[in-house]
Amino acid sequence: MLETIDLRKVYSTGDEAVSGVSTTVEGNEIVAMIGPSGAGKSTFIRCINRLTEPTEGEVRLDGEDLTALADDEMKAARRNIGMVFQEYNLVERLTVMENVLSGRLGYVSNWAALRRNFPPEDVERAYDILETVGLADMENKRADELSGGQRQRVGIARAVVQEPTILLADEPTSSLDPDSSHAVMELLTAIAEERNIPIIINIHEVPLAVEYADRILGLHDGELVFDGPTDDLDKNAKDVIYRGEAIAASTADRDTTSQSGGTDDTERVVDTPSLTGD
């Protein structure tokens, strides 16, 4: 179970990227975090494994406060947090297998890492996961020989081989075409179910979020302005997330559209012309 309490990040430039976000993620739920560019989605997710150091607040993973850990303890804690990145962040010149096995680095000695000498069970795990993500027989290809979709699947394999208790995905589909995006989302969903772990996915494509997520977190200007089941994400909620409009203001907006003939809530949402802009 992951819990953030009043998580806040102020960069040295004075920009407040995340301002006091509190939420809990558990079970095997798929949580999509949406919001406009610069809303602090990436910062939030990177604060969880402290790739970015949070300024204030707590991050509790299975009860342990990660923000209080010393460097060494944090390294050990990171083994339980898998992360998938927008630009895949593979080591391009290494093979697929080396990239996947790098997810096990937290468990091997420096000397073993230097000689790429991983325990047989790690190698076996890596082969299994490569098969799961659809990259069987690709283990000796260099990462830079793969397509974007394939690279992201290596990225996912690297995160999953850690056998994490939670998976973080920072815009995993933003560099991919629509087909690959769906494939990646399906893969992530399947992994959450099969391994019974929660996933937090930063995503700016709302339709993808709605299609795959159980729950939506909406971030606007560093603040959590929406937190609820995907079904509750209506037009009003989207306005608040993407335009920062106060609920009252958008209600007024709705009233004007309702005069032009809208009858019930859902229809009115469909009628609103500005929806196409989302």
Partner: protein, 277 residues
């Protein structure tokens, strides 16, 4: 309406645009250009004022005589044997100096890479690089000869020293260019600092490391041919001696040998660098 008619007309009177200059103002720009031109003219006049046409002609004549006396080069077997012996020493000096220089350079380069080193360490190593780069190789060679005596050891010290400034600076820049995303991905998996270096940094800079090493080796071959003229070993020693004894045909042989070896080194280095990059 006026706005419709005026759409294609200039209405604001803001038609003069100039590309912004790097020197804050146009006046300053022309001032700098003018000053630089005057300085070059003054340098030419003051340095070449004593040079007259007859003096240039005599100089050219002497040059031709010198070259003529080098041709044909001396090919006596005793001298050829001396050339090859000193050439082997020259090449060996370049190899050893490249090895020791690169060995010392690696930690300096890592320390001088802004993305890896903490600030104090970064400034320290940048300082080391700047200082090693500020003194020319012949001066270092003279100091080394004074310190350890005439011979190849002085040459190896001087060339290693010069390798550090060059190699650390360029290699540090290559380390700064790595994809930090891959590094943070490795860190995110719980890898130690050393493991991150081995897994995320080394694979990204390895080709440049090989390329730079071979490039520096090629420069070091050239350096070790000249460094002998101050007594620091290698074929330069022999070249200096032949000039002192007016054995210009022997000097010719040595020059040909240097050209052959330096060109071969350059070709090899270019080939290797093309393959690894």
């Amino acid at each position: 309406m006026a706005t419709q008619d005026g759409a294609s007309e200039v209405t604001t009177g803001n038609g003069d645009w100039q590309r912004p200059t790097a020197f804050r103002s146009q006046r300053l720009k022309w001032g700098v250009y003018g000053g630089a031109t005057l300085f070059v003219l003054w340098s030419i006049v003051s340095l070449l004022s004593g040079v007259t046409l007859p003096r240039v002609l005599i100089g050219v004549q002497n040059g031709v005589l010198l070259v003529e006396s080098m041709v044909p080069p001396d090919t006596s077997s005793a001298n050829l044997e001396r050339v090859s012996r000193y050439m082997v020493e020259t090449i060996a000096m370049a190899f050893v100096a490249t090895f020791t220089g690169v060995l010392i350079s690696v930690p300096v380069a890592v320390g001088a890479a802004e993305n890896l080193a903490p600030k104090p360490l970064y400034y320290l190593n940048r300082g080391i690089i700047s200082i090693t780069r500020s003194i020319d190789e012949l001066i270092i060679a003279i100091i080394a000869v004074k310190a350890v005596g005439v011979g190849p050891l002085a040459g190896i010290i001087a060339i290693s020293y010069l390798t550090i400034g060059f190699f650390s600076k360029l290699f540090a820049e290559d380390i700064e260019d790595i994809d930090m995303g891959a590094k943070s991905a490795i860190e995110a998996s719980g890898a130690s600092r050393f493991q991150t270096f081995v897994y995320a940094v080394i694979p990204q800079v390895a080709p440049r490391f090989i390329g730079l090493t071979v490039y520096r080796w090629d420069i070091n071959i050239r350096s070790s041919t000249i460094i002998g003229i101050v007594g620091a070993g290698g074929i330069g020693t022999l070249l200096m001696r032949s000039f002192d004894r007016y054995e210009y045909d022997f000097a010719g042989t040595i020059l040909v040998a240097i050209i052959v070896v330096v060109l071969a080194g350059e070709l090899f280095s270019a080939y290797v660098r093309r393959r690894v990059q």
